[in-house]
Symmetry: C2
């Protein structure tokens, strides 16, 4: 057995806030949505669109909008098949369609029609067209409750318009926020879906349901496990940046060392750099897949191990340490070798999906996060609801309601529901807010120790670890049971 | 055995619309809300009010309002007691508080705190004060979903602020629309209430879930059973009114014969008279209690039997028949003998509660009703959604969405829920839209053959038939089971 050398950790004396003062949305959501269009198979239908009420819960406005959804029916058995319904989350639905290979892989076995429904305010499903994001009045209908109602009515519409679909049992499937929606959909509309597969769904990442530090401590553990002294190197990097960024010359040096497209000009810019680095480590933890993949970025297998190869010596002088940090993040941003410079605001612009999630985080989806630099490798930062609320009001003219999600969806008290699988990857920071223990014999937790963010929803791959194969097999088994049981009711 | 003589039925040749062209709300809701104030016991608390969001489902407006609720705790066992929560319906909560004696009767046995929550937009719980009903913009938050969210948050507030209440299991109780709310509350917020007693809750009186004629055929049966030729007399009365109201002299005669406060001036007024009579028969069916009572009006025991004493001969000439009809309705409107004249628009004015229900009927609560004069004693009238929708738009500038309630609350597909008692009176016209057969072993139907509208929720009375005593005993038994079971979870 190899005993790892102890790593000397330098605590950063300047405990400047790690996270930028703008609201950090749950990071899984920072999706580049301008991806190559979904490679839609030729059998993918676009049925005649159905008008959806923009406001399901009020009658003053009777406006409707067009919701986009994709249907694949090549494995569907008319009259006797099932429907797998992807509860779209914050992004272009074609992107989710392309990244949820699991549904395509199991369609034949379940005789299933696949439906991918786009979440309102994302992709092309914009209730007010290009005015949808113009102000809080137009954004007022961007909530999970409205989205769930869209899904319920879409399913009804599909069942009524596709011959032979009327009695087909429907299973909701989703990952991340989409997984939360799947679980909540089954909870609130059990008459519409016979069950739900909620992959990497942090339904408890709210209020004080889980400790606010869990998320970043899981990120840290991923780095700890992936290379000796790796997390310590990152922990030390914050102090190095703080020291170097205190002079103009240092800012210049940092801009050059990190190949930044826009040079740093102030201490404030250095805070943005640190936030961007933090985000990078978080994203790496989410996509730490066991094979070469292209989810948030094109990456090698076990990318954190690759990254950590550059981060073996936390005791290096500041500049040398940070040069290594650059090498490390360059794996994430430039694995293809095509980038001529790195853009610290890259994921925060160009992305309507991100805008939408910012808004949702400022209203319903208030997910407290904190770091302490002891149980994690980040600069200490407490969760401060007041500051958060002020930022939200500045940005959107809305105030977050942190207790609403637990009030409406039940918090930890969900045992009276049924037929929900909560799957979580042991490597996924979002598993900290997920359900990782069985609640009842029909509210099932599946943990995939070697899994990152909803690995189980990805297409089958030769590099899949055994644990995800077992998880998928179990998921299929439950889905078959739900389908079977629902048949006996008809 | 006495064989009843056959009654000759004259079908009315002029099949003018029976129901007035204004929207007929479910008639249980026509509550005189200017009743003597609830005789509040001295231990009835008014805890410090909690601000409720006017819009739980949108964040553009952050306005709040004061919801009224009443608390009685004299039988409550602190730390180890339960909470019975009345899900207020369309009216002043003190009136429901005074008319739900069952809760007071069982409080001691269940060690229960009683809470009566006022439904938003009724009584004193007006979100925008006296502007609440001013237009469709201010009325936009009058929905069942908002009301349920109010209840959920109120319960949370009460549990957090009353010492010893935090872990108390809560049971929702309601009658009529309040019963629908109780059932839906358990369906949507099972983490808040361990079960629900939904008395006389017509949760299926929507879309095509039940035949539109059932309601009025039950009314008719009540009259058939209560006196020989009674329903035939009423059926014949419409033709008599049509014939007499065709002349000015006839209108004059009708005004005098019915002691109307405002004389009839046109054929249109005669339609109002007929609608008012229909409403009277329906109300009598709802409050056909086995003992002297004062629910909608002060009335004798088995009031339909008393009414039918005047309606034994359907073959009488028009004027004699209608004079008898006057005697009959006079039992309903003037049992006390205090009224100097009868007011056909009486229940349609003075009553904010009624206004609110009209609005709800024009948005979510679209309950199709029809008559055919064959299976019922009313003039034939088909359900015409288009006409209804036009009326709603004229009145409120809103359009009804008839399929929304089944979509959101599940229609007949509710078997995955649990712990709901649906009680219905066999005499109650609303039982036609209610759940009268067990759905599962925890979705229980209790039918009280001798019961009218939520008789079981009324205070115990020496005149109670055995069936309601049995119903109440069973209800208490289930409630105890729910409470017991919830204790094992803590």
């Amino acid at each position: 057995m190899h005993v790892p050398l102890p790593c000397s950790v330098t605590s950063s004396p300047n405990q400047a806030p790690l996270l930028p003062s703008v609201i950090l949305p749950p990071l899984c959501m920072r999706l580049p949505i301008f991806l190559p269009a979904c490679s839609l198979p030729s059998h993918l239908l676009f049925p005649s669109p159905h008008p959806f009420f923009i406001d399901h819960f009020g009658f003053d406005q009777d406006l409707t909008f067009q919701q986009r959804y994709l249907v694949a029916d090549q494995h569907w058995r008319k009259n006797n098949g099932s429907i797998l319904f992807y509860t779209g989350n914050e992004g272009d639905i074609t992107w989710f369609c392309n990244n949820t290979g699991f549904m395509w892989d199991v369609a034949e076995e379940l005789n299933a029609m696949l439906i991918f429904a786009e979440h309102r305010y994302y992709g092309e499903s914009l209730p007010f067209g290009n005015k949808s994001y113009s102000d809080s009045k137009h954004l007022n209908y961007l909530t999970s409750e409205q989205a769930l109602a869209d899904f319920a009515i879409l399913i009804q519409h599909v069942k009524e318009t596709i011959p032979g679909a009327l009695n087909a049992p429907v299973i909701a499937i989703g990952g991340s926020y989409g997984g939360m929606l799947s679980a909540w959909f089954r909870m609130k509309y059990p008459h519409v879906v016979v069950g739900a597969l909620a992959a990497s769904a942090p339904i408890w990442q709210f209020e004080d349901l889980v400790p606010c530090g869990t998320f970043y401590s899981i990120v840290t553990n991923d780095f700890k496990k992936s290379g000796q002294c790796c997390s310590e190197s990152i922990l030390n990097s914050w102090g190095a940046i703080n020291r170097i960024s205190s002079t103009d010359e240092g800012l210049k040096w940092l801009s050059s060392a990190f190949h930044l497209c826009s040079p740093l000009k102030s201490k404030q810019d250095a805070a943005v750099l640190k936030a961007w680095l933090s985000e990078t480590w978080v994203n790496l933890a989410m996509v730490n897949y066991p094979y070469k993949a292209d989810f948030l970025q094109p990456l090698p297998a076990w990318p954190i191990q690759v990254v950590c190869k550059f981060l073996k010596n936390p005791k290096l002088p500041d500049k040398l340490l940070l040069q290594n940090v650059f090498q490390a993040v360059n794996v994430y941003y430039n694995y293809s070798g095509a980038a001529s410079c790195l853009n610290t605001s890259q994921s925060a612009t160009r992305n309507l999906g991100l805008m939408g999630w910012y808004y949702q985080a400022c209203t319903e989806m208030v997910m407290p996060m904190c770091t302490d630099g002891v149980n994690d490798m980040f600069e200490p930062r407490k969760w401060n609801f007041h500051v958060f609320s002020e930022e939200c009001f500045k940005l959107w003219k809305v105030r977050p309601r942190p207790s609403w999600i637990p009030s409406v969806y039940g918090g930890k008290n969900i045992s009276s529901h049924s037929n929900i699988i909560f799957s979580n990857g042991g490597l996924d920071p979002w598993s900290g807010g997920g359900v990782t223990r069985n609640i009842t014999d029909s509210l099932i937790a599946i943990v995939i120790p070697e899994g990152a963010h909803h690995l189980d929803l990805r297409a089958s791959n030769p590099g899949d670890p055994k644990s995800v194969l077992q998880a998928r097999a179990l998921e299929v088994q439950y889905m078959k049971q739900w389908i079977e049981k629902s048949r006996h009711k008809h």
